[in-house]
């Protein structure tokens, strides 16, 4: 058989932003998987709640709201540097991107620290009863996801600091922010379920 050139792709770009990029799809795939893990955790929550005569169980106080509310606000706030980092990355502005990432990483770390206090705000230990177990599990699975995004953010910030980012790194920055929006967005229903719905 003979080969006949029909498509010349030499003029195509080597990197693109957004859904055309395979990395974007990796982030989306990660979101689907992580999102489904959270859905299952919520399923377990309502399954146990449906079986329980009291929710929270007898002698277990309601969760406190101060730390969770502060953290919700922090999360809402953290969207701004994430968005700013992504915008600067699209404009290929190294230092603005770096600043956005650094702010994002700092806020993210603060959120994770607050997650520790949120666990306290549950007013129940994981090994007290099934209610405690499942609420801790929800907080942890979401926190774990956030932690890995913060690892990524910090890594990209370090990269921006020491190297001139390539185009693909700018693409990574936008996808990192894309994942963070997901982290924040999933927290809203989880917050409502864990902290408000027992009231």
């Amino acid at each position: 058989m003979r080969a006949r050139a029909t498509h010349d792709v030499s003029s195509l770009p080597t990197e693109v932003f957004g859904p055309a990029n395979v990395t974007w799809w990796a982030a989306l795939g990660g979101e689907v998987i992580e999102g489904f893990v959270l859905v299952l955790a919520v399923f377990a929550y309502f399954y146990l709640r449906y079986e329980a005569p009291d929710w929270p169980p007898l002698h277990t106080p309601l969760p406190s709201l101060r730390a969770p509310t502060i953290n919700l606000a922090l999360m809402a706030l953290s969207i701004i540097p994430a968005w700013w980092a992504a915008r600067s990355a699209r404009a290929k502005n190294r230092w603005a991107t770096f600043a956005g990432l650094t702010l994002h990483a700092i806020l993210g770390t603060a959120i994770l620290v607050m997650r520790y206090f949120e666990c306290y705000a549950l007013n129940v230990r994981w090994d007290t009863n099934a209610y405690g177990s499942v609420t801790w599990a929800i907080l942890f699975s979401h926190g774990y996801m956030a932690l890995f995004d913060i690892f990524d953010t910090a890594g990209l910030a370090i990269l921006c600091l020491f190297l001139q980012p390539e185009e693909r790194h700018y693409v990574d920055v936008t996808e990192n922010s894309f994942f963070w929006y997901f982290v924040v967005a999933t927290w809203v229903p989880l917050f409502l379920i864990v902290f408000l719905s027992p009231r």
Partner: protein
């Protein structure tokens, strides 16, 4: 200027010179030695390893099965005591489901799908390698503990509370739960890989309407994995937490529920069957098409059937729990769904028979295995329809009837197609054909062995022999049928020995295959056997669903990819328009290092929660190594980006 695609001489357009070909070769050539071995990220290298490793687990799982059959061959046998028997049957199930069946289907996909869609590698090669290493270390982890008398001993389902902290002493169940985490990481990685490769890396012209059925099957399977695996991971992590951290997910006294575990497990466990079965259906479709010398009849129906199976597969899980007192209404729903899932599979079987009837079948070993698939699988499928019935399930559930059913389904529905696939694609992977003679011996011994082993078990089940019993008394009258079953197992072993000999012998002594020994239509047959590291000299353009059969002496190709770096073409999702050129990563240690850290974290995690905490932060190190750019490549990319930015300005 002449060069080749496959064995056929192919004249390349003037743009591609021999020089470029040489560069292409140098760029993609794998590194040599131990270093190259551990750093490999090529999908074919990883795929081959995956396949070989899964076959080793098949061997181990098979030996365990043989031990079980030996123990049950006669009443009151004392070959294996209850403690050992429980470990061995749990290891058998766990190995076959988690370490053989799912991984080998994935593995064949990893090897073949990029070839079949005309690209050079999978979408995320390093992640792919990480998946393999995690899977390997998971298997090593499980068998190390098994050797230490700490093999799981509560079945591959590991129901609580039998597996909870109170009733399961020691670390045996923790090992099981953690193995699930290992395989879940590997499977999710492979699934992500497969979905994104199929969505974004198909050759121009290979729209969804032209996608080979095997790729469709792999794609749908991977999508199913993304929803099924998290469920079992959730269940097994909760189980581990109950055991290690004293949580109460499954402790009814503190508000937990043992049935929650069963829901989570079977929400994964039932789709799992289809995760094994769908790729096998894809294999059957490719084999039937090729050996009927015509495209598979009813392509749109076939695709629809695969999709329907994928969807309904998630709506059946409760039929594993009928004996737990399920509400009447949901009983009816799950019965109906479980019955109706037979329709898409039935339709596919009809389409294959129609294809064979319309075409002119060539009865080579792969097609023989397809026939065996229909003959054996049908029995499992039909007994599956029976088990969908709540009243009948109440009798047959947890008896040898179910054991017979599941083995008919898995051996008939997955193993026969899998062996067909081995005979079919082996020449592509190795460059030599497997022996037809040994193949036929393998086929007949397996066909006879499977039926002799498992058919009597239907009767045993109805006569009251329950599952997972290590012995039975003579008065039960189960002895003779069990002996027959054990004889059948011996026949299976003989058949598998034929396969093993064939597999090894043909590596050196098999007949030379050439690029396309079967005259098949899909793209992998366009390139040499075995394929070069870059798969295709030029990315082919697809013009029809019939693939190679439609080319008519001339292959339209894509030009313009860099040959001095591992570059692949990314196309748009629906119309496969070329979008950009994506540079693939170079070989790297990062996946192996990351897998070792993950394995350390998981292994430590069964002893102390701090293992997981430390491990989580330790992952950062390989993660950053992974992401950090290579210095030379970095400089080059920056230079080129600068040039590109300068060019439009000059033009304007």
């Amino acid at each position: 200027m002449a060069t080749t695609i496959g064995t056929d001489p192919l004249t390349l357009p003037p743009a591609i010179h021999d020089e470029d070909r040489k560069t292409l070769h140098e760029t993609w050539e794998p590194e040599r030695g131990f270093k190259g071995w551990v750093r490999a990220v090529n999908h074919k290298t990883v795929g081959k390893r995956y396949i070989v490793t899964a076959l080793v687990f098949l061997l181990l799982g098979g030996l365990e099965a043989a031990a079980l059959r030996m123990q049950l061959a006669r009443p009151d046998n004392t070959l294996l005591g209850p403690d050992r028997y429980n470990q061995v049957f749990s290891m058998h199930g766990t190995t076959m489901m988690f370490l053989f069946a799912v991984p080998i289907m994935t593995a064949i996909g990893i090897y073949l799908v990029p070839l079949m869609i005309g690209t050079r590698n999978v979408a995320y090669p390093r992640l792919n390698a990480l998946g393999y290493w995690t899977f390997l270390l998971g298997g090593v982890f499980l068998y190390t503990f098994f050797a230490m008398n700490s093999g799981p001993d509560a079945g591959w389902t590991s129901y609580t509370p039998l597996t909870g902290p109170q009733f399961a002493n020691g670390k045996r169940i923790d090992v099981w739960a953690q193995l699930v985490t290992f395989t879940e990481i590997a499977a999710l990685i492979a699934a992500l890989e497969m979905v994104m490769t199929v969505l974004k890396m198909r050759a121009p012209g290979m729209t969804f309407r032209r996608l080979p059925l095997f790729v469709w099957a792999q794609f749908i399977t991977a999508a199913m994995v993304m929803f099924a695996m998290p469920a079992v991971a959730t269940g097994s992590i909760m189980l581990g937490a109950d055991r290690l951290l004293a949580t109460h997910f499954f402790n009814h006294a503190e508000g937990g529920d043992a049935l929650l575990y069963q829901h989570l497990f079977w929400f994964f466990g039932h789709p799992e069957v289809y995760i094994i079965f769908l790729p096998a259906l894809g294999m059957v479709s490719q084999i039937v098409g090729t050996f009927s010398r015509r495209p598979v009849f009813g392509y749109p129906v076939m695709v629809a059937a695969l999709l329907t199976t994928g969807f309904i597969g998630f709506g059946l899980w409760v039929h594993h729990m009928f004996a737990t007192s399920v509400h009447m209404l949901s009983q009816s729903f799950f019965t109906a769904a479980s019955t109706m899932i037979a329709i898409p599979t039935g339709v596919q079987i009809f389409c294959w028979i129609a294809t064979l009837w319309l075409g002119r079948p060539v009865w080579k070993t792969p097609l023989l295995f397809v026939a065996g698939f229909v003959v054996v699988f049908m029995i499992g499928g039909l007994s599956g329809v029976m088990l969908a019935s709540v009243p009948f399930d109440a009798q047959a559930h947890d008896t040898y009837f179910v054991v017979a059913h599941l083995h008919y389904v898995l051996l008939g529905g997955a193993l026969f197609p899998l062996f067909g696939a081995f005979y079919y694609w082996y020449p592509k992977v190795v460059g030599r054909l497997m022996s037809e003679r040994l193949g036929k011996w393998h086929f007949w011994l397996l066909l006879i062995g499977v039926n002799v082993t498992f058919f009597p078990q239907h009767l045993l089940g109805l006569e009251g022999m329950t599952r997972r019993i290590y012995t039975y008394s003579e008065a039960m009258g189960w002895g003779p049928l069990n002996l027959v079953s054990t004889v059948g197992a011996v026949i299976i072993v003989a058949g598998m020995a034929m396969f093993a000999v064939n597999l090894l012998w043909s590596v050196r002594h098999g007949e030379d295959a050439g690029a396309n020994p079967w005259g098949a239509d899909t793209l992998e047959w366009l390139t040499t056997s075995p394929p070069p590291p870059y798969n295709f000299v030029d990315t082919p353009v697809v013009t029809s669903r019939d693939g190679l059969w439609a080319y008519d002496g001339e292959v339209p190709v894509v030009t313009g990819l860099h040959t001095d770096r591992p570059e692949v073409l990314v196309t748009s999702m629906m119309d496969t328009r070329p979008v950009y050129r994506h540079e693939m990563p170079e070989p790297t240690y990062a996946p192996l290092v990351m897998a070792v850290v993950i394995a350390g974290m998981l292994a430590a995690g069964i002893f102390t929660p701090w293992g997981v905490v430390v491990g989580t932060f330790a992952i950062v190190i390989p993660f950053y190594i992974w992401a950090w750019p290579d210095r030379g490549q970095h400089a080059r990319n920056l230079r080129e980006e600068k040039q590109r930015r300068a060019e439009p300005e000059m033009a304007s």
